[in-house]
Amino acid sequence: QENAAPQKAASLLRKQWSLYSVTPLYRFSGARLGEYARLLGASIAAEKQKGLAVGVGVDLDVAVTFRSLPELRGGQRDQPAMLVQLSSRSSVSSKSSNEKLVWSGCFCCVSGEDFSENVPEDFTCLPLFLANGAENYTAMVGSWFQKTFDCHFCRLSISPLNLSWMAAMWTGCSVEKNACATELIFSVPCLPQPLDISYAIHPEDAKALWDTVQKTPGEITQEEVDLFMDCLYSHFHRHFKIHLSATKLVKVSTAIASAHCKGTIKFLQSRHLLGVLMLLTELAISQIQ
């Protein structure tokens, strides 16, 4: 598996991304990125002409770039990832030194061959979409893509079951010194006022627990994930007399990445970027199917 993440892909780190699943794109071509950038730019400028109310702080005088990130994929059979960026131009001059990045979107497919190979000829599979920036830009870019490539975007939320997989998998990855704690956040249902419980575990303790649970390195089973979580829950119950298993796991944060059930992710280490993207691609594909 490729673990290298050159400079371009490193721009994905430490930003909060909203997750979407995207159905296959019809008649998309990786060779026409410059043309797409011009068309999208024109579409956004047209929105400005229409004078639609777009909200405070959203500047429609933007420069659009489309870039291919060929290193961001699981293997040669995956479509290379594509990064779309909107930068606002200063009103005084259009020199690129005055441009500020205001929105980024990344389409990718990591180890999605089973899905992409079963799709008809003219379709390109980039099922996972990550968006960072104002919601209004996301909506404009999304609707341009939907019109141009006849695809459909859908918000990707992450269930507590999948979050617990992430907690187990990411805890199992090797930890450097001074790594941050593994933190799990639970939301307690059926209360008049919302209550969140935060459970922080020292990363070495968490890894030690996971190491006793996992039988085969490189393989994880549902039973192992359940056992790992049950150990954490009983430990908590012993001390606080609260059954975390009756609450909803809403957020998982480790040194590798941090994920929230409403469908947001933050990548924290470039070494594990592809691994996390592979997991998210799988979630996106199962939402599409």
Partner: protein, 131 residues
């Protein structure tokens, strides 16, 4: 009669009417409810598993709130040879339909429907699920 777990308190044993059907409720949003049901099952007499037990799984409408794996529920269904009903309590129509199904099952388990026994009905339900 509703109970949060089994066994039922023994003080009221002599006042309790005959139990015809036990429906174990599992909330798919709560791992705790599954564990609770698993612990309670140990207190049920084996004779009940001849068609007088069913599992009622709630909360299935919200896929993204899922804390209980579907396989875990199917394992219970297979181990205890009892059918699984799915219900979304928040939707009135589904609630009413499920209540009617349970009532029908109860009538059969109590012996009120001539010609149909709890055991034959239970195996009928399980076979139709497998298809």
């Amino acid at each position: 009669h509703l109970a949060t777990s089994l066994p039922l308190p023994s003080e009221r044993d002599h006042l309790r009417p005959r139990i015809d059907l036990i429906a174990f409720m599992i909330d798919i949003k709560s791992k705790y409810s599954l564990k609770n049901v698993e612990a309670s099952l140990a207190h049920v007499d084996a004779s009940f598993f001849l068609g007088k037990v069913c599992f009622l799984v709630t909360g299935v409408g919200r896929v993204n709130y899922c804390s209980v794996e579907t396989n875990a529920v199917w394992k219970l269904r297979d181990i205890y040879c009892s059918p699984v009903l799915y219900c979304e309590l928040e939707l009135e129509g589904v609630r009413v339909a499920t209540a009617q199904r349970l009532l029908r099952m109860l009538q059969i388990c109590a012996g009120h429907i001539p010609g149909v026994s709890a055991l034959s009905f239970g195996s009928l339900l399980r076979n139709s699920e497998d298809e």
